[in-house]
Amino acid sequence: FLSLSLMTSFLSSSSGVNLALLRDFIREDLLLSISSAAGRTKALVFDKSLIGLLQLVVEFSALKERGVEKMFPLENKPLPQCPNSVIYFVRPDISQMQSIATQIKAHNKQGLEKEYSLFFVPRKTTICEQALKEFGVFADIQNMSECHICLVPLDSDVLSMESPGAFASCYLHNDKTPLFYAAHALMQLQIVFGVIPRIVGKGEMAQHVADNMLRMRREQSDIPLVSPEIDTVILIDRGTDLITPMCTQLSYEGLIDELFSIKHNFMELPPKLIPASHTGKTPKIELNSGDKLYEQIRDLHFADVLGLLGTKAKNLSSEYDERHKAKTIAQIKQFTAKLKRMQEEQNSLQIHTNLATEILDISNKNPKFTSNLQMEQNFLFGQDTDKSSEYIEDCICQKESLFKVMRLMCLQSLTNGGFKPKLYDFYRRELIQTYGFDKALTIENLAKAGLMKQQAGKNAYPYLLKSLNLVSEEEEQPQTGGSPKDISYVYSGYAPLSVRLVQELVQPGSTRSMEEVFKLIPGPTFEKQQKLPPGLKPKGFSDGKSGRQPVTLVFFVGGCTFAEIAAIRFLKQQSFAGNDYVVATTGMINGRTLLESVSKQLDPRVGGIPGPE
């Protein structure tokens, strides 16, 4: 657990909706749960899949204040020695119940008397209670309750459920729990920020979320009377746009994620980039807008980052030089006041200059990086998508990383509306013979998820390409220093389909005018209104006085990429109508993590079994 000192200060900045409120709300709930448990000293045992959520809401010191002495991830084996009060935080999942039973039984065997509290995140289920009874430990748990942690802020304008497997569980295992949690999360948001009047969305899973949410609203009458701060929620199903995550992200933050991977806002620096001053410390750095420098560069196209960093460095050193001019005491005081900020800035500048240089090195030294991008661009422009790609063949021959190969194949399949049978068989054979027969199951999963499949019906992509203006020639070659004109800069010329959908859906009534286009994208399009509690009006902007901008919440069901967030932040800056955007997602993903989640099927815990019907 790392310090959240930065969090509180930056969460309240920039965006129209103060997400810190939501975090405080969740935090309060969590700490209250912990305080409610008996005993002065406590052990906290948590579900591994909740680490990210907990880490983003609460810092260890706050837990310590409430008596938490030790923390363990929940495993199916007895606990090490620990205080007498044990608190569990778990997902309502049978296998977790099994682990809890194992631990309690082990204690009982040793004759240890402990107090157990169990909190389900976010909901208690009867199945789990039943399971605990069957395992014979139900009576041992004194305190059983719920803790509603669903959606936590990653940044001042980004919320995440931190469950990156949501896509796979919905599309492969037919397990809709993530959608239920998402609906729950939206309910929680509405408790803090008021009812959201307009709901639009695209895609089957997105509709599930909307329906669930409306049902919960009907069942729950005690919505507090808060003036709505969010005007529209746009639910975008990942299934409607699988193309985007298959492309390599080219915004700075996106590239960091592609090359070094970002987890719960943190990245581990590669060893050689750790500044000498950092010896002994963990080489992890926090990536969010608490770092003012990072906030400025994270969403830029990578080609522009080093240039900006150079300018910053010059400015900073000239600021340092001012100290020579400082003569009067007042001036010196003024300078020392700035010093701390300048040192922070210098530190961050050093880290990011090193990091950006390293990324440049990787992309320059490795000719494959460029040819890979070239290949992606060709597919996106709809070129040669129907034949076997020589580049992909070469990659297989050289046994390049399976995920890299699959990612390209999926992109080709998606832009071609599936493969012709002959090509499909050829690719499948190549994959199986080179990477092993077990990959046959992965291939079946890809087909199930719609990522790579045999052609069926007409290819919709060329039409989408034109009508939604997905690729623009202009942005293909980013002009260094020039400011981008369209969201397509985040993928060097390709505008993420998902964000184009957002652009369309944000206009009221668009579901009708764009009907033709929407029909070509899988899943239903929907638009619904929620009635406000009587006497309440959306805050501010309806009377036109306070000048408040309408706020749109974009919820990516099934995950989104950093580049997509960059694109939405770009819309925020561009938008003439003065729309403000907040992004929510089930988890941050990129092409590799998405494919990993889809191809994990030899893990015995996974229920859905692919195979002939």
Partner: protein, 114 residues
């Protein structure tokens, strides 16, 4: 389903048994591609067992490409050619594997012959 149990099975005979069942299922479902792929995997396992006995090296659970590479590494050129024919490996991929194997085993004479 049977493929999964094949992968959880340790002994190659159990693996083959489960795979034979899988192949039957695929045939019933008229998935000719997967039926064929499963059959090929069966014959690959048989081949790998032979090679293990002969060369006293582990071969099981390797992909076809890796098996071929190991054959070439052990300078079993005729066997490699036979594998290529039997599994219809495209020329391009075969040459890639061959060049890599010959280079790795420093078999420059054979490499010259191309």
């Amino acid at each position: 389903l049977h493929i999964e149990s094949a992968y959880s099975a340790q002994h190659p005979d159990d693996q083959s048994f489960a795979l034979r069942k899988a192949s039957k299922c695929y045939q019933d479902a008229r998935d000719t591609f997967m039926a064929k792929a499963t059959d090929e995997q069966l014959s690959l396992i048989a081949l790998q067992k032979q090679l293990e006995d002969k060369l006293k090296k582990p071969f099981l659970n390797m992909s076809l490409g890796d098996t071929l590479y190991q054959c070439l590494l052990n300078n079993d050129i005729s066997r490699a050619n036979q594998i290529k024919k039997e599994y219809k490996i495209p020329d391009k991929r075969f040459w890639w594997i061959k060049v890599k194997a010959l280079a790795d085993s420093r078999n420059w004479d054979e490499l010259e012959k191309f």
